[in-house]
């Protein structure tokens, strides 16, 4: 039947070969990742430093200083308004209307972002010891900053100080009291500033990491907040003012920091890391996520919704008109802080060649016209009511990596700058002893910089404690508007409702805290909601 018959020995060989294949090596079912690390990576000190970087990485993200956290203090205060454009973003509208809920995304996201950063700090603090002091220092600093943000926003929150907690337990953790959270922050910062855990300066390539100055500034801010009348934490208010003053003085007297004479430099992204005024910032590099980077989005967040397409923006955080009007024309802060015209081309050479002669199809005057780089059109000429407003200038005019029409820029968000330290000195000194020379000197330093060195605009001497207080509060508004300061200031001073009433806004008292996110309450039966929500 078969044409060919092989000898049996070949058959046997073939069967033997088959059997070898059949019962040869078994695959291994226990496999370790080949492109990622396991738990034991924590044993490696260099790896710990890389893990710590993640605590910084949270800061510039959308969900935190990149957008949401800033909106929660700017749109909700007398700094800015949300003006809906083509689309209405309900979370922004709710901030504008004082109707935010435990579901509103901006106030919800900050909670998670802060805890993400805290979680990294705790992981580092769990494994590093004093032989890596700067890791301990940075972790303590960032943990304190995050808890400070949380406690100001939400009141008492779960106080987690280690990573060694099972997931199931995390879903049952209760809120600590506001006093307990502050006590932990105060302890961490005391441990940090009294030791030598952080350097005065980092090597240039590490600019942006927490420094001793940043720790003193934060400690001053925490104690100033604790001292403020609106903060309902029992304690020695005068004592807190004294610590605040002392810590702020340490920053001033170290001589490391000074005011930038020219605000343009302060708001130029690539100058910010080396600026003498910047104490702590979050880091962006303006590289589009498409390529990989942490882009700032401030330009687009704050820029007008521009129908000509040159200055793509969301117009989300539009300065209150009263704020704009409170500046006189000699104040360089007016020019640096506000956009009063549109740049229809891009002044940056890099952009120019691709943009020349681009036809924008419409403008306010009804012509189709061709714009050329550098053309400017006053904002009042634009057709849409919602953009006939000055917009924020701080983040928009010097973003070197900003591409018109892109969602990205390289603006960093400055969390602490020296101007605020001076204002803290003025505030703490005035609260302790009335307007002292030191207080005048501090506030006038701010005003002289604003008026390019002129002393003509110094605060008049002979102020009472309360008139100085008023001047200081106004100066903070003008100097630090839309830098994520105002809501906290109004709340800690206890004047939030009163101030918003001046703007015709009736804000109930419970809105001096944001609600705990509903998703967190749903997952954890032991969490309680803030009153009113």
């Amino acid at each position: 039947m078969y044409l060919t018959r092989f000898p049996d020995s070949r058959q046997a060989a073939a069967i033997a070969l088959g059997a070898v294949v059949a019962f040869g090596a078994c695959v291994e079912l226990d496999l370790e990742p080949e492109d990622s690390y396991g738990q034991n990576v924590l044993d490696n000190a260099a790896a710990t430093n890389l893990i710590l970087n993640n605590a910084y990485r949270e800061l510039p993200l959308y969900e935190y200083y990149g957008r949401d956290f800033v909106y929660c203090s700017d749109i909700t205060s007398d700094d800015a308004e949300y003006i809906p454009g083509e689309s209405t973003f309900s979370a922004r509208q709710e901030l504008e209307d004082f109707s935010w809920t435990p579901f509103s995304s901006h106030n919800v996201e900050v909670y998670g972002s802060a805890y993400n950063s805290i979680s990294v700090c705790n992981r580092v603090l769990d494994v590093v010891s004093e032989d890596n002091p700067s890791a301990v220092g940075q972790a303590l600093y960032l943990r304190a900053l995050n808890y400070f943000n949380l406690v100001r926003m939400y009141g008492g929150v779960p106080l987690l100080l280690t990573e060694d907690v099972p997931i199931e337990e995390l879903a049952r953790v209760s809120r600590a009291s506001e006093a307990e959270v502050y006590a932990q922050i105060v302890d961490d910062l005391a441990r940090l500033t009294d030791g030598a855990l952080l350097p005065e300066r980092w090597p240039e390539s590490d600019n942006g990491r927490a420094t001793r100055g940043a720790a003193h500034a934060l400690r001053a801010k925490v104690h100033l907040t604790l001292a403020s009348p609106g903060t309902d934490v029992p304690g020695d208010k005068q004592g807190h003012y004294r610590v605040a003053l002392e810590q702020a003085r340490l920053v001033r007297d170290a001589g490391t920091y000074s005011l930038e004479p020219d605000l343009d430099r302060l708001w130029t992204p690539d100058q910010q890391y080396s600026s003498s005024e910047v104490i702590f910032l979050n880091g962006t590099n303006g590289i589009d996520v498409f390529v990989g980077g942490i882009p700032g989005r401030y330009t687009t967040n704050y820029n007008p919704i521009d129908r000509a397409g040159w200055e793509f923006g969301w117009g989300n955080n539009v300065p209150e008109i009263r704020l704009f009007e409170s500046f006189d024309d000699d104040d360089q802060r007016k020019d640096a802080g506000f956009v009063t015209y549109f740049i229809t081309g891009d002044t940056l050479e890099r952009e120019a060649f691709t943009r020349v002669g681009r036809t924008a199809s419409y403008n306010a005057t009804g012509d189709v016209r061709t714009f050329f780089p550098g053309d400017t059109v006053p904002y009042t000429h634009w057709s849409e009511p919602r953009i006939q407003r000055p917009h924020l200038g701080k983040f928009r005019r010097y973003g070197s990596a900003s591409t018109p029409g892109s969602n990205v820029d390289d603006n960093n968000f400055i969390i602490f700058r020296y101007a605020e330290v001076l204002l803290m000195i003025a505030e703490a000194a005035n609260e302790l002893e009335g307007p002292t020379d030191e207080a005048y000197e501090a506030i006038n330093a701010i005003r002289r910089r604003a008026y390019r060195g002129s002393t003509d605009y110094d605060l008049e001497t002979g102020q009472s404690q309360s008139s100085f207080r008023q001047a200081l509060q106004d100066e903070r508004w003008k100097e630090l508007h839309q830098e994520n300061k105002r809501w906290w200031d109004l709340v800690r001073w206890g004047i939030y409702q009163e101030r918003m009433a001046e703007f015709g806004r009736d804000v109930p008292a419970f809105r001096q805290r944001f609600p705990i996110p509903q998703a967190q309450l749903d997952q954890n039966p032991n969490l309680t909601q803030n009153p009113g929500y």
Binding site: L17, G18, V27, L29, S36, I51, N53, V291, G292, E351
Partner: protein, 991 residues
Amino acid sequence: MAFGLATFTALAQREVTGTVTDNDGEPLIGVTVLVVGQGGGTATDFDGKYAVTVPDASTVLEFSYVSYATQRQTVGDRSTLDVVLAAEESLLEEIVVVGYGVERKSDLTGAVASVGTQAIQQISVANVAEGIKGRIPGVEIATTDPSPGASPNIRIRGHNTINGSNQPLIVIDGYTRAGDLQAINPRDIKSIEVLKDASATAIYGARGSNGVILITTFSGQSGEPRLSVSVAVKAREPLRQLELLDGPQWLALRQEAGFGVSDEDIANAETRDWQDLVYRRGFEQNYQASYSGGTDAVRYIVSGNYFDDLGVVENSFFERWSLRGRISTDLGDKLTFTNTTYVSANSSNATPRNTLNYLFDPSLSTSALVFFPQLPVRDEIGNFTSTETSTNPVAIATERQDLNQQTFNYTYSELEFRPLPGLSLRSTFGITKRTSADREYWPQTITNVTNEGIAVVRDGNTTEWSQENIAAYAGSVGRHNFSATAAFSQEKLSGESFGTRASGFATDDLGVFNLAGATQSVSSSNRFTQTLQSLLGRVSYNYANRYYFTASARRDGDSRFAEGNKWGTFPGAAIAWRISEEPWMDGVTWLDNFKLRASYGVTGNASALGPYESQLRYIVDGENAATIFNGQAQPSLRLTNLANPNLRWERSPQTNLGLDVSVFRDRLSLSVDVYEKTTEDLLLSVRLPDVAPVNTRRENVGSLSNRGLEIALQTVNFERERFSWTTAFNYSFNRNIVESLADADEIPVGPFAGLMDTPPVLLRVGDPLGSYFGYAYEGIFASDADAGRVSYPLISSSDLAGFVKLRDVNGDNRVTADDRVIIGNAQPDFSFGFINEFRVGDFDLNIYLQGVIGHEVYNLTRYYTENTNLRGNVLATVADDRWTAENPSDASLPGLNKWLPLAHSGNVEDGSYVKFRDIQLGYALPRAFGSRLGIDFARAFVSVQNAIVITDYTGYDPEVNFGGSSTSLQGLDLGAYPSNRSITVGLNADF
């Protein structure tokens, strides 16, 4: 002696004549009569007669005729040799392939559907999945992406998992790592079997829950070598183009909307339909040749294919070269060695799709609709024109490149040892290697995307090997028939990939081959290994072909799970009763088969799981995740995954009841199946409390269910010598319900931030997958007074006229987010296929309809193209259907500048369709004529795909999905690649 022999030979050379008839004595025309081993031959004439010269008495003649059993006769001393050819075994005697074995069709106990050689050979599309669409009830094949080289989604009995893959397992010639259906030429396929119920698929255990498609390819047959050639060329055109405003209309509307357009502008406006500029006539070529043959001990086939598809979008193409070869050698009568090797290389250029990248979405199809019609392609100084809301479609089509080159190769060997009658021991080994290289470049000329060039380069490869040892035994004792199969199987997959994204190039001249010139770049690298080990077995028993019982079990161990949960057991069992075989049915001669089937089984799925998801992992952050100090990125190590040793397989228990009937000698056959299956322990991402170190963790929570009915009916309506007509009809429906979810009863799905106020899809417990969510559209406010007492979002109650009116569902006199409801669903009520085949003499005509009825499509393209705020060009209907003060009451679209970014049911459309998938007319060369030319078989055909599409859907095609193969995003039309109508001319010939 030599002389004597020669004389004898000369004497022996003589003519043999005869008549070839069928069982009924009817002459058969065109039967091939072959002189075996000599190469000569002839064919029977119109009276079934033949005459052939044979060399000697030992000559063997072979009589072959399609659908009749080939017969060989030794001539002997006969000069007249009449032959009766028996029709091939009835449908019931067909052998079908099942997991790890074959069975007679009559013995099947599970829900198994087959597509036979004849139907497959008539497929006039290059992707076999396209070709069998609508032919098998319960198998939904949806071409959500009609671009060249794309594979359709195949869903067998609905969606079984949310985060994992719902594609069925594809097994080609017993090899589970032979790729998807795109990698096989229909001309190479002999049969397709689809295993649908769990008793049939449980033998594939943890990969069986989505059903299994078994492909059997042609093997060489011993005998004369056969050359088989097929050629098909196809011309395509877009099925439909949308009617948009022309230049003057567009500018007039813009003027009316207050955009500042002068009358002169309108008068001078040009018109460009950008669809015309970027869509074209597509052209496809498909050439295949195979050569097969063998001796009794060695059989071979080798088959080569070249396929080239130029799509209907400018610059889109897919091109593939492939070669498939198989050799099978008997080593004595107890051993057979078989090797199959497939090598292929393809390249393609992909068209950019919607990315929802806010306004500057560089999707070609969307841009072709919304780009301003009055603009020229290039401006006065030669740059591409662009607008603030859209990218110049010609720039995208002609300047941007996304070249992908892939190779896909495997070799699969099997040694079979048959030591005893009925016992087969097989050992198999296969290796599959894939490589992929992506070269994507966005030039500086596409200014809305980049003005410095972006290059994306990705290279990856995977190696898969599989080794199986299978023992099978079949035997009978009296009327007891039994068989048993056991196997041990191991698989290993590993892969690695490297990617770089770079931007900031001085010029575009070098495209991606200028990475050193980039000012910014980020790289990534990945590697994984994954292993699977399985033990499986099956026993089947039947008594007198009347009572059937089958049981199987598979135990799978997977490296992805932690110790203690690696192994899962997946059992299946089925019983069947062939009532027609009962003695007391003997008198019912018209009934060929009457069988009842019942089965139950459990299958698994873990495709949602990454290779190391049960382990704690830190990754180095690269792309878009670095930490920035001093303006420069520093790497960071991020905890990305918490260990979860409790993860286990998703499990899908399924019950199936079936009925098979055939009557009047198979003139009518009917199969009906009903099933119910529930997938439990879905591997979903569970959101952890914010205080946890990571945001989500994979857990086994949630369940889904599918219930459905499938009917397949085949009739031979008319059958005569010169004329026959057969009909196949199938009908199926599936009801899908989300039974439970992870931590919420509702999960909005869709990356739609910034586009609309709410994601368009909602996963909700108690509703099916693919439910659309939004406001209920009630028309347009004719006047400000129309509102009644109800207040509306985003609009002031004093200025309502011309805005969209939405239903106040909860009756609280305010339309708020709480009034959003389910406004449609992507799951059809039912679907059907209806295929009629006519044969008239040498002509055949095949009319193949397929329909999907009762589902909705969320036409998000209209969200752009009916935007009366006029950010981009709009549909021509906007001119007439929008609200105006003059025409307040007949409007269906909002007035100018009154469009709101709200998801509402006004954009949800009935997606029901009936398509004439294929109308094919063929002509087969008469054998008698062909044999004179040395042609055994030749058939020429012309066929039209999508000749008629019946639908009320207003977009390009209701068979669409922006979400691709996503389970949760279904039925969304957003910037879809246009589907097409095509005409194919082809020729198949065997020599």
